[in-house]
Assembly symmetry: C3
Homo-oligomer: 136 residues x 3
């Protein structure tokens, strides 16, 4: 059993943005030398998240961000948090700050249309992504 901890940085350019990080995660998996196991992609920030969805057509990411903005508006009567980014905290908990992907035959066992996205909800910012690869 081998456990490999890595991280990398990314920069978001918009307040709400989904950034495809499948390539970076896949490279770390390849470098780890692990054949069979799983990968945890973890976001250590409270106004961002990790999701897996279609990365072939960029309209899908657009429509997910649009839906989240309509469900969780930037300003809502009753918000108490003084930093003005309560919406970003809510979206982070709705989407979740990590995802786990099976690793098989030395690569991510994603579905045909699946990509891994870092979801920025309070950008633009410099962010960090933690990747833990486990297996044999």
């Amino acid at each position: 059993m081998k456990i490999v901890n890595k991280d990398f940085r990314i920069s978001s350019r918009q307040r709400n943005q989904m950034i495809d990080i499948t390539g970076q995660v896949g490279s770390l998996v390849a470098q780890s030398g692990i054949t069979n196991g799983d990968v945890m992609v973890y976001c250590p920030h409270t106004t961002a998240a990790i999701t897996i969805n279609e990365n072939a057509d960029p309209s899908v990411a657009h429509d997910i961000l649009l839906t989240l903005e309509e469900l969780v508006p930037h300003h809502r009567p009753g918000y108490r948090h003084s930093e003005g980014n309560s919406d970003a905290h809510c979206k982070s908990s709705i989407i979740g700050c990590s995802r786990q992907i099976p690793l098989k035959d030395k690569s991510l066992n994603l579905g045909t249309w699946q990509g891994i996205f870092f979801c920025e909800f309070d950008g633009p910012r410099s962010r960090r992504v933690i990747v833990q690869i486990r297996g044999e």
Copy 2:
């Protein structure tokens, strides 16, 4: 440390449907011979998801699907994705494409009322569920 990768197929019959897969996952756990560890149930599709909720009263699944349909309507002004299933992609990211369950004494350590559901958001379709069992 043993890592067992399995998968199975299911068929959904409606556009939105929650299918109880607790039995299939539990059988794979029993067959694995693993006593202590965890199970990842992973959906390799971008218009479906995995959740854990009550499977005693089918009204609970009905009410979850109703809530998701009201929050994320099939058609929303502004959607750009041309396949007409943006709602299904959004629901997939809100619910999440995988869940992890502790495994103890050779069985799923679910709560009394918990079952594992495959959530179809763009059916009817034939779908695949990946199950990874890890432990000793």
Copy 3:
């Protein structure tokens, strides 16, 4: 590879409440003697959930609960589940019943502002939290 299963009980005092359990989970990690690996925090209940978000300013938890209550009202025309807590089941599936956190150098590898919360959606109740720590 070592796998440690623990659990502890908490009591909620309100119908909707986010309870910071970072300290309890961190203590179990310290007691486990595991240096490098991961932790699964699992809620075995179908009307509660686990999330990670800011625990410095309590307004953040308030704003997340407010948002969830506005998105998923206690009573919605069409709910069929007779126990009157369909909203709590929906919130449980939206937030998710578990989270996974990387463990590094004998402690939780959380971000600066991250804490672990048990989310009660149908309290007040006595609840159980399962913690599985894995690694070396």
